[in-house]
Amino acid sequence: MMPALLRWLEERTGIPGAVRRVFGEDIPASAGWAQVIGSVVLFLFFIQVFTGVLLAFNYAPTPGEAYHSLNYIMREVAGGRMVRGLHHWGSSLMIGAVVLHMIQVFLYGAYRKPREATWMVGVTLFLITLGFGLTGYLLPWDNRAYWGTVVTTQIAGQAPLAGGYIRKLLGATDGVGAVTFAHFYALHTTLLPILAFLLVALHVSLVKRHGVAPAPFDDRPKRKFFPEQVFKDACAIFAVFAVLFFLAAVAGAPLERLADPTDTTHIPRPEWYFLFLFETLKFLRGTAERIGSVLLPTLAVGLLFAVPFLDRSRLRPVSERMFAIATVALSLIAGVSLTVAAVVTAPRSAGPDPEALSSATSAIVSGARIFAANGCGNCHSINGVGGTLAPSLNGVSQRHSREWIAQHLRDPKSQTPGTIMPPFNFSAQDRDLLIAYLSSLPSR
């Protein structure tokens, strides 16, 4: 039965044979765990495509609505919190895996003739990955997304000559708005994915054409891709998937309150992989700042592309490639210390006004924390700040009794038929703290 079916498929499509050829491919005897990273990157790329398509089923790509639809995905769609978590953490893991992959190829000198084109396509894919991170950052349209992108577009505006033009092109001359959003959305969901698919196909076909690069002086007989290397790939991919699943389930993805261009308390922070650049900009002024934000990165990218042509050293074992090892080590030390410095010197996230705090009792402060931790402000507003989906909470304690509020938290529909508010099962203590906070609010 099966052999007959396979033969039928083979004669008509050639697919079974193609699969067999992939698994039967020759790989160098030196290939091992170091060579699994490329497969991990490819896997993460497919995870991002998969979860991105899922998000698109319930996502409204316009400012404002984007935020509400994401809120809906995370609170009301089954598995929505996980889908967003996977997409959010998948992007971080993807950047990490891409960088590790580049470091491995760089250390091994695998970009040498005849693999220069493979390397250069790879560097382009690295830039596309960063482009995905940059454009995707705006799409939740919360405060974090808004202010992060304001800073990004301002940096782009510092580019010599073209800066002003770029900002006009992005629609980001006066903050960021609908035009910037649409541009970023189009880049993130149409142009960049198409480019990525084409270049990934090219990259993989080049790897197949030239074969996996052997370690220098490896003249042992070649092995087959299946089963040992496939097994190593599968183990690594599974481990990364387990970490990703754990992060999505336990850490979740942040959704701050709706983007507020008038908010002066928000402290914009880029994603961790841009923090080193963010920190560099603190030390530079005037012309030096332009150098740091635009010229240095451009130069670095140029150098990356040129690596195969700059490396004229003779073939050496990996452990003797001292220049490559030193370059990676120094870059890592610089990158890690700048990132750590950015994290350590970060101001505490903006909390309530300290003066208001000093006059408040600790119960009210604890209640405010519970309010923030449960995302009440995503739908409700207080003093004009917060969501618009639900009524303002100013004066709620004049409108309703404590018992009414307590029952409303436990089972909203019992007090307000047809309400969209989900039930919250607070402990009695948390509930009392929250009500203390709500009762402390001015009525208007």
Binding site: F57, G79, M82, P227, E228, F231, F238, L389, I420
Partner: protein, 166 residues
């Protein structure tokens, strides 16, 4: 195909690879299938809506009443236009019919000359009390819940005129 890996080890690794791939597939499936297949929890409509002053109704002359109601559609909570055919029945009671034909949802209208509701799509016909007079409609017209407070007409949810047979 000649290869140096012993058959037993080959079989073991093959099975292990299949297991790992299946585990990843299960992890993705357990997230994606509910996401795509379970309808979201939020209810489609809110309860009672104030549809305005009770219109001056002549007995047995249906009025196409337009009003605003709050509608929740996924993440979008907005006020939308809605309509109802409001009738003062011979007995004096007020009924408000949903404006959708019970056949396939087209908007029907009242024919003054023939004293019946007529659907322009497939020719269903209904009496003033909602009964089917002819055409393919499977059940009488659906009605809003109706409540009268002072001179205000309140409309609730649309209740199917008969349990839907699936």
């Amino acid at each position: 195909m000649k290869n140096s890996v012993p058959t037993s080890r080959r079989g073991f690794l093959g099975a292990a690879i299949s297991g790992l791939v299946a585990a990843i597939g299960a992890g993705l499936g357990i997230v994606a299938l509910p996401y795509l297949l379970i309808p979201a929890k939020r209810a489609g409509q809110e309860g009672w809506t104030d549809a305005g002053d009770l219109p001056d109704l002549e007995p047995e002359t249906p009025v196409d009443l337009k009003f605003l109601r709050r509608r929740i559609d996924g993440w979008d909570a907005s006020t939308v236009k809605a309509s109802a055919w409001v009738v003062r029945q011979p007995g004096g009671g007020i009924t408000a019919f949903s404006p959708a034909c019970t056949h396939l949802g087209c908007a029907y209208r009242w024919s003054r000359t023939r004293n019946e509701f007529q659907c322009p799509c497939h020719g269903s016909r209904f009496a003033i009390d909602g009964r089917v007079l002819g055409g393919p409609a499977p059940r009488p017209l659906d009605r809003y819940e109706v409540k009268i407070a002072g001179n205000r007409l309140w409309l609730g949810l649309v209740e199917p005129s008969e349990a839907l047979r699936l």
